[in-house]
């Protein structure tokens, strides 16, 4: 990850999740860690939202609860003592949310739950449309959460790759070659070469580059949520299993 810098906000000297736990007590380090955490939470708010929705809460309540959850945890430094050796960000976040929901229910249900905090900007997103699709695919709130989490990491990496290529005017190339990212080329190379006005050899090279780049981006995104390289592969295997679960 370090030899070829990854552009965009995802670039960190160390992974986010380990950064959160390892922040030194000095202010700069704390602020840095908190910013990293906030960014991480923003990236993964949706799987949690879907989880809350699937527990029977209405859209409004789910927004409120997800918002409060993040706000409260970031405010109270709930993550500062996170034990990154033992938990992955994904399972930690889900556990914390379950805990939060359990306790939240006991509080008066009518009480307004910190709705004044605006951590996630709902206007820009349409969680309900996404949820409507997502809820078709999973049978159980926790599976739903894991699945949405996996999709979130992939779509983040794909988007980053698309943006990167768009910057250098290669959007068309991305669209033509993205099918190769699943590890299987269905469309014949000659046809693509003709369409992109490239030689077949150049297409081969481009595919190779695209795969490498995508792999790096995705692994970097997931690396942010685990604590070491070994966990990274485990987590990826787990997410593959999640996506293949029926």
């Amino acid at each position: 990850m370090r030899d070829t810098p990854v552009p965009g906000p995802r670039q960190f000297a160390t992974t986010h999740w380990s950064l959160v736990g390892a922040a030194k007590p000095d202010e700069a380090s704390q602020t840095h860690a908190r910013e990293a955490l906030e960014e991480l939470c923003r990236a993964y708010w949706y799987p949690l939202y879907a989880f809350v929705r699937s527990r029977g809460y209405s859209a409004v309540d789910a927004q409120d609860l997800t918002q409060t959850f993040f706000a409260r945890f970031i405010e109270t430094d709930g993550f500062a003592s996170a034990d990154r050796k033992r938990s992955r960000f994904r399972s930690y976040l889900l556990g914390a949310m379950k805990h939060f929901l359990a306790n939240e229910w006991h509080r008066a249900q009518t009480q307004k739950r910190g709705g004044q905090v605006q951590f996630i900007e709902w206007d820009a997103l349409d969680p309900e449309a996404r949820y409507a699709e997502a809820s078709k695919q999973s049978d159980n709130p926790e599976h739903l959460f894991d699945r949405e989490w996996a999709l979130q990491t992939i779509s983040g990496a794909l988007q980053a790759l698309r943006d990167e290529m768009a910057k250098t005017g290669k959007s068309e190339q991305f669209d033509a070659l993205k099918g190769s990212l699943t590890g299987e080329d269905e469309s014949p190379r000659e046809e693509i070469a003709a369409r992109l006005d490239m030689s077949e050899g150049a297409v081969k090279v481009a595919v190779h580059w695209l795969r490498q780049r995508y792999r790096k981006l995705l692994r970097a995104a997931i690396a942010q949520t685990v604590s070491n390289e070994a966990d990274l592969n485990d987590e990826m295997r787990y997410l593959v299993a999640v996506l293949r679960r029926r």
Binding site: R53, S54, R55, G56, Y57, G78, S81, A82, D83, K85, R86, S87, Y92, G95, A96, H99, A102, W105, H106, R130, E133, S135, K136, Q137, S138, D139, N140, P141, E142, H143, L144, A150, L151, Q152, T153, I154, A157, L158, R162, K178, G179, L181, T182, G183, E184, R211, Q212, Y214, R215, L218, R219, N233, M236, R237, L239, V240, L243, R244, R245, R246
Partner: protein, 886 residues
């Protein structure tokens, strides 16, 4: 699920979302990135729904009896198994045929017995037997088809399985074998190739070809011709020797299977069968950790124990084996909260330190134990003091170091583990206890030395001693302040030793039901309906109880009202529904034969408005929610349901009947369940049968959402209910006793010993009785005061340690006014007369003592009453409250 084939990846079958991943298969996108750059792909081929390999000499498809053979599934010891379609029903089955060259009366007997034995087992983790017949002179057995190969195929394709995956598979196998054993069947041939994988990934035990009834234990493994049936590599030594077998022989094979799943090799190998047998009988298996580094040490021990040569040294039953394996399964360990750890810790602390303390006080005396070290300050003078602590240190380092838990943690279901899941070991366990104790002692002792100079021991010294002891006892609490859920509730000593306290995963135990009438098996001559012998007409002309004479299995025959059952219903193989066996035609009517399951109709459990404990009902609600969800998916749900449609099996499982049970006359409301609202209403009707007062707080919110029909998918509800099965549902007597007595007992012991030692030094020994009484009263007074203050938080120390909550008649947490009333009922009858008694003491001590004793006796009886009725003590009755789980 509402996804068509075009939304699925052609390669791996995963669902492709409409948005978010550029219309590419997310699973392939993820697994593609697992490949190291430029290198070979990391093999994670787990293609679900993989087609079964078809090979063999026969040409497929071909017709055979009433079946169309579609392909060869495999060859076993006794015969060949084909994938087939039953022409009459369209059902896909596995058809097992006795190999022609083996056809002898003896083997034929054996073969049919397999069908009979396996037909007695009905469990999601065991392949179901549909029937047994003779086609073209050859006996065949038709059974459920799992669909995704065997564990052996999986091994062949992927090599050794990840630890959690292997353990999960074996846990499934254990469940299947447990059901078989409950039905009186020993499998005797468990190995990876006899464990079948279904499309949802669960594993089913099959091939009962070598099975015997547990009644016929001496049936030998080696046939009369000296031919060994089965695979010696997985057979227990006693089985290879032809000795008497019991469940532990199967447990051995389960261990051998797990060994193979983890290493891709059998525990014993050899160039030929005889050598394998010799090795299996004489040699020790290679330690797992030598073959594979990432196997946790504890798991190696479990496997080694299964593979012990002597049956006595193996696990005695499946429950023990399952409990040992659960912590290595894919369930992530749940960190134990500080509350539960605190209560477990106190129990261990009392055993480790209070017992030697009291013993030393009685035999050595306070002077030698406490005063000497303070005044003399030599190592020799502290010998008893050191002995006191050493006992406690030994207790913790041995129990937690080796087993991961002392008595307290064991009772609370907690385990101390290292971050790699192993027990901490002696050294780490010692450091774990040294840190909190030393943190107290290094402050307390110098403090005592400064405060108590060489003056005589007076009451001032006593008060100082007790005060410093009680103040310093809080020091370790400071080290727990950083413990949060997210760091696994790590305290300083957890962090320092790299250990954590987790809740030991446990399997859920279903409440079994004693059915009022056992299902009969008709053996005498009786009328036949099709192939079945009629036992009894439950409703004449409508619902008949009968027996399958070949498989000796009870069946129900239902007269068909509507046209043909749908194919989906006929093929249904879920635990939540009765299996359809076949159609029986008579001149008058058409009948559907269903398997009959021993049990009781749900409505008879709730007769007369009786309510059911949540600990039972939650299992059934979960079963029904899962079944409704699944049945909606494959359109096998009846249009209307009522409480009479619910059948509770003897194993405590809820089954949805297609027709209402006719034998009870209830006017249960018929609820149309065509839509989600109706389904939630039906489930809510079931949920309403719960004893509302005993309902844990965690369930209440979800049931409220269910009553308001707020769930958008039943599977969500099923998932949540599934999670509830892991939680404690009831306030047990032990928990209630703990919440009432633990804090007073602890405070009293500390106070009593504190006073006692002070008194002893002063040689003031008169009237120990009133002395005990006074200390008890002081402690109870203190508790009453604490509880009054606790009203601010609407909880008490005892309740928060044991996760209890006081609720009102509606089941909501009681408000402060109600709690105050409850408090007054508990404490005022004790405390007000006590004030009077205290005034009496000066004048007539004897009478005062008796009065106090009577009052205390009354209070304790009320407390004991509350323990006997843990949900509702006398004071709860008077205050109109209940105590439930949080």
């Amino acid at each position: 699920m509402n996804t068509s084939e075009k939304d699925k990846c052609k390669r791996c079958g995963a669902v492709i979302p409409e948005k978010s991943t550029e219309k590419l298969c997310p699973a392939c996108l993820m697994s593609g990135a697992l490949a190291p750059p430029g290198g070979e792909a990391d093999t994670i081929s787990m293609a679900p729904g993989e087609s079964l390999s078809i090979y063999g000499p026969l040409e497929f498809p071909c017709e055979f009896g009433g079946y169309r053979l579609l392909g060869l599934l495999g060859r076993g010891g006794m015969g060949t198994v084909y994938e087939a379609e039953q022409l009459a029903t369209g059902r896909r089955v596995a058809l097992k045929m006795l190999a022609q060259q083996l056809d002898s009366p003896d083997l034929r007997q054996r073969f049919l017995r397999e069908g009979r034995l396996a037909a007695g087992v009905n469990h999601p983790n065991s392949l179901y037997i549909f029937g047994s017949e003779e086609i073209e002179g050859l006996p065949v057995i038709t059974m459920e088809i799992a669909g995704s190969g065997t564990l052996k195929d999986k091994l062949k394709k992927r090599g050794p399985l990840p630890v959690t995956e292997a353990v999960d598979a074996v846990l499934d196998v254990i469940s299947g074998l447990e059901a078989a054993f409950a039905a009186g069947v020993l499998h005797r041939d468990i190995k990876p190739s006899n464990c079948f994988i279904s499309p949802d990934g669960s594993v089913k035990v099959g091939d009962f070809g070598l099975s015997v009834s547990t009644l016929a234990k001496t049936d030998t493994f080696i046939t009369a011709h000296g031919k060994i049936l089965g695979t010696p590599a997985y057979a227990s030594p006693e089985q290879l020797r032809g000795d008497t077998l019991d469940v532990r022989a199967d447990i051995y094979s389960v261990g051998a299977t797990l060994f193979t799943l983890l290493t891709d090799r059998a525990p014993f190998e050899g160039d030929n069968a005889m050598q394998v047998v010799a090795n299996a009988v004489n040699q020790k298996p290679k330690p797992l950790t030598e073959l594979r580094q990432d196997v946790p040490f504890g798991l190696e021990r479990v496997v080694a124990r299964c593979l012990a040569k002597e049956p006595d040294r193996r696990y005695a039953d499946y429950t023990a084996l399952r409990n040992a394996l659960l912590s290595f399964s894919s369930k992530e360990p749940e960190p134990a909260s500080m509350n539960i750890r605190g209560s477990a810790g106190w129990i261990d602390f009392l055993i480790a330190f209070l017992i030697p303390y009291v013993a030393l006080m009685l035999f050595i005396g306070a002077e030698k134990l406490i005063a000497w070290p303070l005044y003399e300050r030599t190592l020799y003078s502290t010998r008893y003091y050191i002995a006191l602590w050493s006992f406690g240190f030994l207790y913790f380092s041995i129990t937690e170091g080796i087993w991961g838990a002392g008595l307290g943690k064991y009772l609370k279901g907690l385990r101390v583990v290292r971050t790699n899941g192993r027990p901490p070991g002696f050294g780490r366990a010692l450091i774990r206890i040294l840190i909190p104790i030393l943190s107290i002692e290094v402050i307390r002792n110098p403090l005592n030395m400064v405060l108590m100079s060489d003056a005589d021991w007076t009451w001032i010294q006593t008060v100082t001693y007790v005060a410093t002891a009680n103040a310093c006892a809080w020091i370790p609490v400071l080290f727990t302040l950083r413990a949060r859920r997210e760091n696994g509730f790590a305290t300083l000593w957890d962090l320092f030793t790299g250990t954590r306290v987790i809740i030991k995963p446990r399997g859920t135990v279903r409440p079994s039901i004693e059915p009022p009438v056992k299902l009969e098996i008709a053996t005498e001559a009786a009328d036949f309906l099709g192939p079945y012998r009629i036992i009894k007409e439950i409703v004449p002309g409508k619902w008949i109880a009968a027996t399958d004479p070949v498989l000796r299995r009870p069946v129900w025959l239902l007269r068909r009202k509507s046209p043909e059952l749908s194919l989906a219903r006929r093929n249904l193989a879920r635990h939540g529904r009765l299996r359809w066996l076949q159609k029986v035609e008579t001149p008058e009517a058409t009948w559907d034969a269903f398997e009959a399951i021993e049990g009781i109709p749900f409505s008879s459990l709730t007769e007369g408005g009786k309510h059911l404990p949540w600990s039972n009902l939650r299992h059934w609600l979960h079963d029904l929610a899962s079944e409704l969800w699944a049945a909606t998916g494959d359109k096998t749900l009846p249009a209307e349901l009522s409480l009479d449609h619910v059948w509770i099996t003897a194993q405590g499982r809820a089954v949805l009947l297609d027709e209402p049970w006719p034998d009870v006359q209830t006017d249960a409301e018929r609820i149309p369940v065509g839509d989600l609202a109706g389904q939630q209403r039906f489930l809510s009707t079931i949920a309403a049968c719960a004893e509302s007062a005993g309902l844990p707080l965690h369930a209440r919110g979800v049931l409220q959402n269910l009553a308001d029909a707020k769930f958008e998918k039943l599977s969500f509800l099923a998932g949540i209910l599934g999670g509830f099965l892991e939680k404690s549902a009831e306030v047990s007597r032990g928990i209630r006793a703990g919440s009432i007595f633990m804090v007073p007992l602890y405070l009293w012991t500390v106070a009593f010993v504190g006073f006692f030692q002070g008194e002893l030094v002063q040689q003031w020994k008169d009237s120990p009785g009133s002395f005990i009484m006074i200390t008890i009263m002081l402690v109870l007074g203190a508790i009453a005061l604490f509880q009054l203050l606790g009203l601010v938080f609407r909880s008490t120390i005892g309740h928060s340690i044991f996760r209890l909550v006081v609720v009102n008649a509606e089941g909501r947490p009681a408000n402060r006014a109600m709690l105050l009333r409850r408090w007054a009922i508990v404490w005022l009858p004790l405390m007000l007369p006590m004030l009077f008694v205290a005034l009496l003491i000066k004048r007539v001590e004897g009478i005062a003592f008796i009065c106090a004793l009577v009052l205390l006796g009354l209070w304790i009886s009320a407390a004991v009453y509350a323990v006997i009725h843990p949900n509702r003590g006398l004071h709860d009755r008077l205050a109109g409250t209940w105590v439930v789980r949080r």
